[in-house]
Subunit: 208 residues, 2 copies
DNA sequence: TAGATTGTTAATCGATTAACAATC
DNA sequence: TAGATTGTTAATCGATTAACAATC
């Protein structure tokens, strides 16, 4: 892997390509041209070809793209050929919901444990994963080959948990708190700012 | 409200400005310059001024911006001075989690009911909102002044529920299914594609 | 008044789209 | 071979940044 300087805009579109190609695989479609895919996805054929050619030439002139091959290649680019072990910090309603998401497990994102400070939930079990006290977090990450920490604590706890995570070997934080995290650049952060998203929706309603 | 053709990039940034200004209000900071805000938010001062001036001149030369005033104005732009009534379609773990999110209620997004087809949850009560059968959905939306439908059903149910929603007066759909919805242009859609987001994180880990 | 900082125009940069030669 | 469609270069479009005159 590892072409650097692929633009963020391209990376954001990759999972969407992967999704549509997955549907085509399910439908047992064998080949597709950028033009046909363009119609399905509502993006220009030009953009599709440009995007893919950031990672290499996956097509063939006069033929198009082999669906299954392209699907697998994009999967590899996205790192989906590897298992990613996950911990969820904050075993509230949202954390529990994420631990139970079947589509994550199906793609190789495996929740190994949840962490909380609430004694009522510590010791219980979510979809096979134990809920542990947050004191055990750093050790657990380092000893269980954990890639990704999901941050589903209340906003006020975000910074404290983050500085704890930074003491471990964590590679990435999936941040559901409505706060921007400050991390060194060898740690990736992907934000899911739900309230921001809802406000955008409110804007579009309001501005009609 | 209602300047048309504000770019999507600007709209995406508005909630973030709102968030930072909210913190400044809490800290009882009275005024701030685009330069200071730029340092805090890690965006250019130029961008801040450009963004705000899409909606009017909120600042004053030589002084900067009054924090509280700007906060309120952005709130109005985002439509947060109005109550938005919400229904959640799909009363699974994720739907329940969203119904319980305190920050939504605090901003005037009020969950009025949840809908499902599972008899085990129908009749129950989530944070004061009833769980009803999906057959009652259209009528409920039209009679209860519902703006926003949250879609937290499994992927396979997405299209069916969407076509049901389009029979109602719904204004916006907050889509948590991993599917792109097809709606007429008087209905707004905001996607939260969690699996896509997780895949992006996987990409950044993989491409180091 | 002098200093600070906005609002806004102009310059730059990057991303998207169009075009087309290469080639299967 | 002729037709189709890619990979890629060039043109366009839009968004970001820089600069500065206006003005509080």
């Amino acid at each position: 892997m590892a072409d650097r300087d692929i633009s963020q805009a391209v990376i954001r579109r990759l999972p969407r390509y992967y999704r549509y190609l997955g549907e085509l695989v399910d439908d047992e479609i064998e080949r597709i041209s950028s033009g046909e895919l363009s119609d399905k996805m509502n993006v220009t054929a030009s953009q599709i070809r440009q995007d893919l050619n950031n990672f290499g030439g996956f097509g063939q002139q006069g033929y198009g793209y082999n669906v299954k091959y392209l699907y697998n290649e994009i999967g590899k680019i996205l790192g989906l050929d590897n298992i990613h072990n996950i911990v969820i910090v904050g075993a509230g309603k949202l954390g529990m919901a994420i631990a139970n998401f079947p589509s994550f497990n199906n793609r190789g994102f495996i929740t190994k444990a949840l962490f909380d400070i609430n004694k009522d939930v510590i010791g219980s079990n979510v979809h096979g994963a134990p809920v542990l006290h947050i004191d055990a977090l750093v050790k657990f990450i380092n000893e269980n080959d954990i890639d990704i920490a999901v941050l589903t604590v209340p906003r006020q706890g975000a910074d404290e948990v983050t500085s704890l995570l930074l003491k471990s070997n964590i590679k990435a934080i999936w941040n559901f708190t409505n706060k921007d995290l400050v991390v060194p650049e060898n740690v990736s952060v992907e934000n899911v700012h739900l309230l921001d998203s809802l406000m955008q929706l409110s804007y579009t309603i309001t501005s009609r």
